[in-house]
Every structure is written in C-alpha cells, then in structure tokens.
C-alpha cells in the first residue's frame, strides 16, 4: 500500500464544516417538512435551518473562490470525452468486477483526484444543486422582501417545490456519498484521506 497526497488542508476543513452544515440542514429540513418528526423544537429547527443555510452560502463561496484562485476547478472537475468511457468502466467496476477482486480502473493522484463518476456527482452537486438550493433558500429567508422575485418564479409553492426537490436530491446524494466513501482500497481509506490528506492506494 502506498500513500498519495490528495486533499490540501483548506479543502479538508471545508469538507467537514460543509458535512456538518448539510447534516443539520437535512435534519432540520426534514422536520420543517414533516413536523411530526421532532428532532428540535420546531422554531429552533426553523432558525437553525436559516442560520446554517446562510453559513452554507458562505461555505460555498469559500469553495468556489478557493478553486478559482488555485485553478483546481478545471484540473480536478472538468469532464473530458474520455470520461464517458471511464464512467461506464467505473460503474461496471462497482457493480461487478470489484467483487472479483479486479484492479480499480482509476487511481487518484495529486494531478487528478476524482474518478469520472465522482466528477459528474460533484460537478452537478456544486454547480447545479448547491446554487439552486442556496438561491431558493435565500428567497425563503424573507418571503415578503423577495415577493416580486418569488412571484416571477411562480409563487411560494413553486419555490418550495424547487427547494424541496433539490433537498431530496441532496439526501440521495448523501446516501450514495456516505456508502461510496467505504469503497476505497480499505473501508476507511477515503475517510482517512479526507482527514489526513493522504489517500491509500495499492502498490503498483
């Protein structure tokens, strides 16, 4: 087993703060949607959802500014034509060949951290779902103030539908993300990489 440096410390800190925020946002969001699920007191859930939502907005800007400055956005996230094949290969690996002990089709390195499936997931999460949920969340934070914009979109109900549908997409993503985090070289490899910065890969 060899160790490869993958995640610089600013990203590691961001990841865990973001994880905490999303955890509490999902918990409070579920309660706001279904008051029968009582995690917090309802008004605490409402306040926490609002405050953490604004912190998440800050966290998103931190992420995007960091990658814009370091130039990593294109390097690690840009999809290439070859990734189409890579995606199929990766999916095939997870569904079949990993059980036969086949070699991983992708090895993360400092130059290319994510496999094609990760790229698609992270790109759509960070550049589509995150902005959508942030913008709709900000509109929700003061409905009267943003009423004209909300009515332009189609009213509070449409806004709610977009926000909640995106919220469900987040939940689906989190389930997959948490599970695939155990699919590294060892079960804890990926989690350890996000703490120490070093990924564990098989020897050549």
């Amino acid at each position: 087993m060899k160790k490869v440096f993958l995640h610089p410390i600013p990203i590691r800190i961001w990841h865990w703060i973001n994880a905490g925020l999303i955890f509490f946002l999902i918990m409070s969001g579920i309660q706001l949607r279904f008051p029968a699920v009582s995690v917090f007191r309802y008004e605490q859930a409402a306040l926490l959802h609002k405050i953490f939502g604004f912190v998440l907005t800050g966290s998103f800007f931190y992420w995007i500014i960091y990658y814009l400055i370091t130039g990593g956005l294109a390097k690690h996230y840009m999809l290439h034509i070859r990734d189409a094949k890579g995606m199929v290969r990766m999916a095939f690996f997870y569904i079949f060949s990993m059980f036969k002990g086949a070699r991983r089709p992708f090895t993360p390195s400092a130059a290319e951290r994510f496999n094609p499936l990760q790229k698609v997931a992270y790109l759509s999460l960070m550049l589509i779902l995150m902005p959508v949920i942030i913008v709709t969340g900000i509109l929700f934070s003061d409905i009267s103030y943003f009423l004209n914009i909300i009515n332009f979109i189609g009213g509070v109900r449409t806004l709610d539908a977009i926000h909640v549908a995106t919220g469900y997409a987040f939940i689906l993503y989190i389930i997959v993300h948490l599970y695939t985090a155990t699919l590294g070289y060892r079960v804890i490899s990926h989690v350890r990489a996000m703490i120490t910065g070093y990924g564990e890969e098989p020897e050549e």
Binding site: Y94, S144, Y145, R157, Y168, V176
Partner: protein, 487 residues
C-alpha cells in the same frame, strides 16, 4: 368671484364687498371672519378645540373642491430602521391602521422623542362663497367627500411617501343611515335598547344580550388589565359583522393598544408575512375555532384589493348570483376542479389580473386572550397537516348585500395549479401524508388520474422518499455481496 358671492349666504344677508374689503385698497385691508363672528360658540361641534385648531372656517362653511390630509414625519437621526418596506408591512403601497400603529411604536422605540409629526388638513376653499349651512359631520367622518385622501411623507435617513387610509386620522362616526345596515339593526336592535340614557354605553348594556360571551371574558387578564369595556374593541355601529372583517382589519382592532405587535414578534420567522395572513387571536386565543379563508382579489400596481360584489357583477351580469357560478354541481361545497374553472374564467374576464388571497382567521371566537404564548411558540400548531384550520376551509364569495362562506373540499391547495394560489403560504397541506401513500394502494379502477392530480406537489415527497429507499436497498445488497465475497 362676484357670481360665487351672489350664490353664497353672505349676499342673502346683505353682506357686500365693502363689508370686508376697503374699496381703494382691495388687497391691503381685508377683514377676516373673526371681524364679525368674534364669539362663535360652536356648541354643537364635538371636540371643538381639535376641530378649530386643525381647520379654519372655510373647511365647513364653504364649498371645497380639493382637500387632503398631509402627514409629515421628520426624524433627525438613529432612524436607520425606518424604511418604506418596514413601514408598509404588506407591500400594498397604502398605510392602514395596523401599519400606522406599528410605525408609531417603531418611532417611539428607536427615536424616543427625537422626531416630529405634523398633520396638515389642506384644502382649497373660496372665501367669497360662504354656504348657508356648514358641512355635516358625515362629509368628513363617513362619506369622506372632504379629506378623503391622506398621504404620509417621511423625511429622515430615508425619504419616502406613501398614501394612507384617511380613517386613521379622521375616525369613522356612527350614523343612523349606516346603523341600519349593521347586524345589530338587522336583528332588530333599536337605538333606545342600548342608549338607555345620555350616559355612555357600558358593559351592562351589552350583557343584556351577550351574557354568555361576557361570562368568559370578564375573568380574563385582558378584561382586568386591558380593555375593560366591550366597546373598547367592538364598535356596535360598524356595518360589517366581526366575522366579515378580514385579518388586517381584525389586527387593527388589537393594534390600537398593542402598537408594538411587530417588535414583540421579532422571534417569528417571516414576521411581516405572518401578519399579512393572520389575526392576533389565531395564536392568542387557543380555544377559538380557526378556519382558512380564501377570497378573490386583484392587483393594481403594488396594491391588492379584494373583489367586491360590484366588481364581480360588472364581470358577469347585473344582479347575478355568484355562488352557482363557482359551485357548479350545487352540492354546497367547492372542489379543486370547480375552483380552477371559476378562477380561470374570472381571470380571463379581468385580463389576467386576478389572484386568490388567503388568511387564517378565527371563525368562532372564545373570548379569552390571556394566553401569552411567548414561552410556547408552537409553530407546529399551524405548520402541520394536522393544523385545525384544515377542517374548516371556506371560500368567501361576495353576493349582493352579504358574503357567502362556501366550504372547501379535499386537498384543494396542492391540487390546484400554481398560478391559482400564487401567494399562498406553506403550511402542511402540500406535504405528503401516510394517508396519501395508503390511498394509492386502495385506488379503484379509473381513479388514478384524479388521485395523481390531487397529489400536486406532494409527488415530490413520494418520489424523494421512494428513491431514497430504492437506493438504500441497492446499498444493502452491495454490502451483502461485499460481505459474502469478502471485498
């Protein structure tokens, strides 16, 4: 000028030009009213000081063409909080009673006494056309032919102007004509049933009929410390019965004393939005029965107006009955299809400018407002599919001379197109419940399309939760295979 003078009462009483003007220096020496009417007692004028301070003789004793009330509030500093959007809570570009009370509380709190309010009752009267009889009280206090418009100008850190309800500054007074339209009058209550003597009305008068309600009210904190008389809150001469007041008008009853109602509710998310859809007793009288009411309205610029019978009559036909147009199958209740069809029709006739407003109001009141829910703040009372008002939803339809409250059936909110309820706030009704899910398994043949449509946005929950379980299922299978092959 001479023509106007000739038509006036001065001419009839032989008061000529020379009596007021110096013939040689017309503009220099003019006599005012006081030159002849020095000791005018105005005995029959109520609150003479207030009237005579704000107005001059011409306001009542001449024909006024143009008049308005101008309110100017000038603040020096520390008023950064006060902006138009903070003052106009419902964004309808008009200051109503409740908003005026809120503004006063806000000024007092943030500026202490560091601001000045001036009220100017401005009008154009012609001194040459003095009328024989003064204008009656109702000119200003009921008909509002005079001072029927008010405008507030704020000058401070922010500068803005906003039209205001003139009734804030010139209160409505009872009149025999309008009394005839009140519920009291329609139920046969005569003047002398209440006005037993010249003394002002006290609770003993109201108890004659309303003993039951009074029995609840007299023991409450509110009765002992706040409004001690029934008439402190209820105006027995008001035309509309209390149940026909909308949430905003009901709120204005409380805000006359509880002016700081917005500041006191800062903890409440979307405070302004809540106050535009609720009245105080929705939360502060827990034992009252609540209902959700819907009404048709239209928008002019930023101002939202509830459609009256006259508006609807002009859209359909004279003396039309509106209820059968909405309740097509005549079962005395409205379902989503009837509402959508009727609304589409109204909107077409109004060239697209129609919307359905809603509020949650008390439909049967329990007169104990002692509950300060400051410690409880139970949002889930309303924000839940179990909220009590879902049991009583009504569409208020104006008919000639009265309002029709038509019960609303089923899941009308989620089932109707978004464009129908553009401003509806979200409570519990468009979140999926177990019964929605169970309903799917007990569908009879041919019911699926209707079921699917009535679910509306609840589909998001069902698909979202369903997909989550599907993915979890595959994850568990993956784990199981991993364990089996030890990878």
């Amino acid at each position: 000028m001479v023509k106007i003078h000739n038509e006036g009462t001065h001419r009839k009483k032989n008061v000529g030009c020379k009596d007021c003007h110096n013939t040689h220096f017309i503009d220099k020496e003019k006599k005012g009213c006081g030159a002849c009417h020095l000791k005018t007692p105005h005995i029959s004028l109520p609150s003479p000081d207030r009237h005579l301070r704000a107005l001059n003789c011409l306001a009542c004793h001449s024909n006024i063409q143009e008049s308005s009330i101008k309110i100017v509030i000038s603040a020096k500093d520390r008023d950064r909080l006060i902006k138009k959007e903070v003052v106009d809570l419902d964004n309808n570009n008009t200051l109503d009673h409740g908003e005026w009370d809120h503004l006063n509380a806000l000024l007092k709190k943030s500026l202490k006494s560091n601001y000045r309010v001036t009220k100017e009752f401005s009008f154009q009267g012609n001194v040459h056309g003095i009328t024989a009889k003064p204008s009656s009280c109702k000119t200003c206090h009921i008909d509002r032919r005079l001072f029927g418009q008010a405008r507030l100008r704020y000058t401070g850190t922010a500068q803005f102007e906003i039209p205001a309800d003139p009734a804030i500054f010139i209160p409505e007074i009872p009149s025999i004509e309008s009394y005839k339209k009140t519920v009291h009058s329609r139920k046969g209550v005569q003047c002398f049933d209440c006005h037993l003597s010249q003394a002002s009305i006290n609770d003993a008068v109201c108890i004659q009929c309303h003993e039951g309600v009074y029995g609840t009210y007299k023991h409450t904190v509110h009765a002992r410390k706040g409004a001690t008389q029934c008439t402190d809150c209820h105006n027995p001469h008001r035309i509309e019965p209390y149940r026909e007041l909308n949430a905003k008008e009901r709120l204005a009853v409380c805000s006359r004393c509880h002016k700081d109602y917005v500041q006191k509710h800062n903890w409440l998310p979307n405070t302004k939005l809540h106050f535009s859809h609720l009245e105080c007793s929705t939360c502060h009288s827990p034992e009252s029965t609540k209902g959700m009411v819907f009404y048709l309205s239209t928008k002019k610029g930023d101002q939202e107006d509830i459609l009256s019978y006259e508006n609807l009559e002009s859209l359909f036909e004279k003396d039309a009955r509106i209820t059968p147009l909405l309740d097509k199958n005549g079962d005395g209740a409205i379902d989503s299809r009837e509402l959508a069809n009727f609304f589409t029709d109204v909107r077409k006739r109004l060239a697209g400018n129609a919307l359905i407003g809603s509020s949650i109001i008390v439909t049967s009141v329990y007169h104990d407002y002692s509950v300060k829910r400051q410690k409880e703040r139970i949002c889930a009372t309303c924000h839940s599919e179990k909220a009590p008002f879902y049991e009583s939803m009504f569409f208020i339809l104006p008919e000639k001379g009265f309002h029709m409250y038509i019960p609303v059936k089923d899941t009308i909110l989620s089932a109707t197109p978004v464009s129908v309820f553009i401003d509806i706030s979200l409570l519990g009704e468009q979140k999926a419940t177990w019964s929605d899910v169970k309903g799917f398994f007990f569908l009879k043949r041919g019911e699926l399309p209707r079921y699917a449509k009535e679910l509306g946005f609840k589909w998001i929950d069902i698909i979202g939760i369903g997909l989550s379980f599907v993915i979890l299922f595959f994850v568990f299978i993956h784990i199981a295979v991993r364990v089996l092959v030890r990878r």
